[in-house]
Structures are given as structure tokens and as C-alpha cells.
């Protein structure tokens, strides 16, 4: 049983603490809310935000460092090497698995994979979550021109060399084989 003093103490405490609580909630009722109306108004996203990746394809050398660093193997990449130029086949990142830990970003020797500030991963189908990070498939126009120029240069060099060797062979009759063509300079382009 409660004593008379406790009885009235209880009544008083209940009323007093309720009034204190109501003062606090009433104070915030008068203040401006801290939330924003989301799609119309957005809070700034910091630079280091770990969102959906983006890739600087020109820099990438297909070294697989990021794929190896990934704890859940969600990065897959493949490219065909034409000398210095890369013909990209695929660079996909599976966002069903990705946990945005940024471990793929640190080991990159060329600093070409980054995490962006995009975060919306809403799709109609799960397969759409397998993002292709390449902005263009195969080789870009510039790369093709550069490769063609390089090949033309190389062919010219070889021609000159062959001519020189032929001259030499003419004089010495002991010609070396001309240097083998650069690895992988493909015929399809």
C-alpha cells in the first residue's frame, strides 16, 4: 500500500513530469522541422559518398586488382589487348552482391575505379542490377584512330627496316629475320 504522502506525491509527479514533457514537445512543435521534402529538395551528398561505381575506362589496364580485392567477387572484367589499346568485352559489377565497402577502389594502380554519389538502385528486374560499368563497348573512335596510326607507323618502320635489311642482305648475304610483329595486333580492325 502507498502512504498518503506517496499517494499525493504520485499525483504531483505525474502532472509535473507530463507538463515538462509537453513543454519540450510543444517547443519543437513551434520550431522548423529538420527534414526536407525529399524528391523536391535533397541534402548535399559528401564527396566521399560510397554510391554506384563509375569507371574511367581509358585509364583502366584490366589488371584485375579490384576484382581480386572484392570480398564477394562481384566484379567481372574482360578485355582483349591490342598492344597498348584495350578492346573491352565486359566490365560488370553485380549490385545484388555488392556491399559498397570501397575495398575495390584502394588497390587500383591507375586510380580509375571510383564510387560515385548515385545511390538509387531501383529496377523492375533483378538482372538489371548487374551493371555494365563500361561507357562504350569495344574500342572508342579515338583509340581506333590511335591504334591505326600506331599500326601504320609500325608497318612503315618494319618496311623501312625490311628495306634496310634487304640492303644489308644484299651486301652481306647474312640477313637476320625481321622483328616479329607486336603481340596481339589484331587483324579485325
Amino acid at each position: 500500500m502507498v502512504s498518503t504522502k506517496e499517494y499525493f506525491q504520485n499525483v504531483w509527479d505525474a502532472l509535473k513530469t507530463t507538463a515538462i514533457g509537453m513543454r519540450i514537445t510543444g517547443k519543437y512543435l513551434m520550431q522548423k522541422p529538420i527534414t526536407v521534402q525529399y524528391p523536391d529538395e535533397r541534402l548535399p551528398i559528401p564527396d566521399r559518398y560510397r554510391g554506384i561505381h563509375y569507371l574511367e575506362q581509358e585509364k583502366c589496364i584490366n589488371c584485375l586488382a579490384c576484382a581480386r580485392a572484392c570480398p564477394i567477387d562481384c566484379i567481372e572484367m574482360d578485355a582483349i589487348r591490342h598492344g597498348k589499346e584495350l578492346e573491352w568485352v565486359a566490365f560488370t559489377l553485380d549490385y545484388q552482391k555488392c556491399m559498397f565497402c570501397e575495398l575495390c577502389v584502394y588497390p587500383c594502380p591507375k586510380d580509375c575505379i571510383h564510387m560515385g554519389t548515385e545511390f538509387a538502385l531501383v529496377t523492375y528486374d533483378r538482372s538489371e542490377l548487374n551493371h555494365d560499368l563500361l561507357s562504350f563497348q569495344g574500342m572508342g573512335r579515338g583509340a581506333r584512330i590511335r591504334m591505326r596510326e600506331a599500326q601504320a607507323k609500325k608497318a612503315a618502320k618494319e618496311k623501312a627496316k625490311a628495306a634496310a635489311a634487304a640492303k644489308k642482305a644484299d651486301t652481306e648475304k647474312d640477313a637476320d629475320e625481321p622483328e616479329a610483329a607486336g603481340a596481339g595486333t589484331g587483324g579485325d580492325e
Partner: protein
């Protein structure tokens, strides 16, 4: 039988301020227009009743709708949020309409193993009881659905019928959580009917009437500020007790034990969805409004305010404009009460069931009795002095 002390203390001619006691304003209106002789009286009466029910449903829906919107805005701003902002444009005013449409469109689900009949009629009983109680709610001095000398009795009696519907809902849902909610509701409402009624005794003694219209008319002095809460020292504590009991009656936090979201999932509402669920929801807000109307009528002057006093002294009494001012005054007072309920809800934690019982029986009931005693004594002293 001698009338009670407080009633004898009042000048009797002051009580009958409104004409035609016991009538229905709509029926009077129809009779004034004068229906053709060949239409039987009962058809005329039925039409008047139908019109009354229509108006009532409109009022309840509007009140429930805007109370819900208000609740969401008030809670949002108390919690540093915005609340609904999108539907309808200005501060999401149409949010509740959108919600209502959504609830109407939802699949009507009745759980397997539920008692189908009870499950279906429970929301109806809940809503009907609150409609019935609202019949006693006067719109102005001249416009009312029913002028009853015992209006407050009628409201209390019909208002507590809700409990039956809630218990039916809890039992019929075939869910253990629902059953808990229903049992809690039963215990709680029975416990709090007593202090609710007793606390109402204090202003009833002060004013000396059970009629809502008369209670309002009796508080018209002092430039429209002769409110019961100022005229008797017991009325303020009685109001506090009434308010706590009213929170318990309407199942509002801190007494929302029948729903108790964190304990009983959603209590008796667990298995309800769609339009049936929204009936319970409408009942809650209509009941809040009704309790606030009672408080406004018996403690805070009802229709009376300096505005109505000014109109009356300017000679404008009766007529549509005066009625509108009366109605707006009452609605403002009632919504202030609804706001207070919301404010309390978003401040306080929930009480435990044994504490609810302790509070009802050990704290509120004796204190309410004390209030009645003080009210009666002070009225007696007043009648002796003046």
C-alpha cells in the same frame, strides 16, 4: 420528490432559453415549409431523420478526416518532421482522402477461422454507437438533431457501447493478440466509466442541467466568459480527471492499451484491414471529437464566447449568421481539445494494465468523488451567499 440542491439554487426561468424543447430542428423545418396534407406524418418524419443522418455522416467523416490530417501534421511537427506534404498541394490536405480511397480499394480480408458474422458486424456496431452518441451533438442553439434534457446521459450511454463492438472484433478475429486487446479494452472502459461520470458531476452541479444546449446557454454571462470552469473551484480538477478518463475511454495514448502497438502488434485491429479498419479509425477520431465537445459544453462555455456575446448585445440572435458563429466557436473549442489529446499522445509513454486499473480505481475515482463534494458544497455556499 424534491429537486437537488444545486437545481433549486438556480433561477428556473433561466434554464429554458431555447424554444420547443424535445423537438428536432429538421422536423420543425420541414413542418414550417408545410408538406402537402396527403403525405402521412411518418414519411415526413422519416425524411427529416434521413436528412439528419446524412448531415451527421457528413460531419463525422469530415471531422475524422481532418482530425487524422491534423494528427499527422501535429505529430510530424512535434517530431521535427513535416508530416504529409504532397497530396492535394497545400500541406497535404487531401492526404486523408487519398488514404480513404486506398482503404476502400483494398481487398476485403477475413481471416480463416474468424467468426465471420461477428467479424463483419463489429466495425458497424462501433461506428453506429458513435453516430448514435453524436445525435446529441447540437450544431447551434436553433439547429440540432435532437434536443434532449438528458443529452449527456445519452452520449455517455451510447458512447460506451463501442466497447461491445471492440470486444466482438477482438474475439472474432481468431488471433491471440486481438483477444488481449479486447480484454484490455473491456477492463479499461469499465474502470474509467466511473471517474468519467463522476467528474462530469461537478459541472453538472454547477450548471444544474443535463442538457447540452441549456448548459451552454447558462454560461453566457460575463461577456460570454462565465464558463463553468471559472465559476466553481472544483471544476478545474474535475476537468483534469475527466480528461484523463476521456483519454482512456477513447483509447488514446497513454491509455492505448487495447491497440498497444509495441506490445500487442495492433491489438484488436490486428486482423482488420481496408474499410473495416477505417471504421474503427473513424470511431476513434469521432469519439475524440465528442469528448472534446462534452468538455467544451460543460466546462468551457459551449457556444458562448465574447464573439457570441457581442452579437447578442448587438441584437443579432437567432438566424443563420448567429448559428454559424455558435457552431464555429464550438468547433474551435472542440478542436483545441482534440489538439490537447494529440499533444498528450505524442508526449507520454503508455501505462501498464495494472497501473491503468490502479489509476482508475485508486486515484481518479476517489479524487472525482472529492471534486463532486467540493462542487456541491461550494454551490450550496454560493446559493446561501448570493
Amino acid at each position: 420528490m424534491t429537486p437537488p440542491l444545486a437545481l433549486t439554487a438556480l433561477p428556473q426561468e433561466q434554464v429554458a432559453t431555447t424554444p420547443n424543447p424535445g423537438g428536432n430542428a429538421l422536423l420543425d423545418l420541414v413542418n414550417k415549409i408545410g408538406p402537402p396534407e396527403w403525405i402521412p406524418d411518418w414519411i415526413v418524419a422519416l425524411h427529416a431523420v434521413g436528412a439528419g443522418v446524412g448531415i451527421l455522416i457528413g460531419i463525422v467523416s469530415l471531422i475524422a478526416m481532418y482530425s487524422v490530417w491534423m494528427e499527422r501534421k501535429v505529430s510530424g511537427h512535434m517530431q521535427c518532421r513535416l508530416g504529409p506534404m504532397y497530396a492535394g498541394g497545400w500541406h497535404g490536405w487531401a492526404q486523408t482522402i487519398a488514404d480513404g480511397v486506398k482503404l476502400l480499394m483494398k481487398e476485403d480480408m477475413i481471416p480463416t477461422g474468424a467468426d465471420r458474422v461477428l467479424f463483419i458486424i463489429a466495425p458497424g456496431i462501433v461506428l453506429a454507437s458513435i453516430f448514435g452518441a453524436l445525435v446529441a451533438f447540437p450544431i447551434s442553439y436553433d439547429f440540432y438533431f435532437a434536443r434532449m434534457d438528458l443529452g449527456i446521459f445519452m452520449i455517455l450511454a451510447l458512447g460506451s457501447t463501442t466497447t461491445i463492438g471492440v470486444i466482438m472484433a477482438g474475439w472474432a478475429s481468431n488471433s491471440k493478440w486481438s483477444l488481449y486487446g479486447a480484454m484490455r479494452e473491456a477492463a479499461q472502459v469499465i474502470a474509467y466509466e466511473i471517474p468519467l461520470g463522476l467528474a462530469l458531476m461537478a459541472p453538472l452541479i454547477t450548471l444544474g442541467t443535463f442538457s447540452l444546449l441549456d448548459a451552454s446557454a447558462l454560461q453566457s454571462d460575463w461577456f460570454g466568459m462565465k464558463w463553468a470552469i471559472f465559476t466553481n473551484p472544483a471544476n478545474l480538477p474535475a476537468f483534469v480527471i475527466f480528461w484523463i478518463a476521456a483519454l482512456a475511454e477513447t483509447k488514446r495514448a497513454p491509455f492505448d492499451l487495447p491497440e498497444a502497438e509495441s506490445e500487442l502488434v495492433a491489438g484488436f485491429l490486428t486482423e482488420y484491414s481496408g474499410i473495416r479498419w477505417s471504421f474503427f479509425f473513424m470511431e476513434e477520431y469521432a469519439a475524440m471529437f465528442l469528448m472534446s465537445v462534452i468538455a467544451a459544453m460543460f466546462w468551457f462555455g459551449g457556444f458562448e464566447s465574447p464573439a457570441t456575446w457581442a452579437l447578442r448585445s448587438a441584437g443579432v440572435e437567432g438566424g443563420i449568421f448567429f448559428g454559424a458563429v455558435c457552431f464555429v466557436t464550438l468547433v474551435i473549442k472542440a478542436f483545441a481539445g482534440v489538439f490537447l489529446m494529440m499533444w498528450l499522445r505524442w508526449t507520454l509513454p503508455r501505462v501498464r494494465i495494472d497501473q491503468v486499473m490502479t489509476m482508475g480505481y485508486k486515484y481518479l475515482t476517489p479524487l472525482a468523488l472529492l471534486c463532486v463534494l467540493i462542487a456541491a458544497v461550494s454551490e450550496a455556499v454560493k446559493s446561501l451567499l448570493f
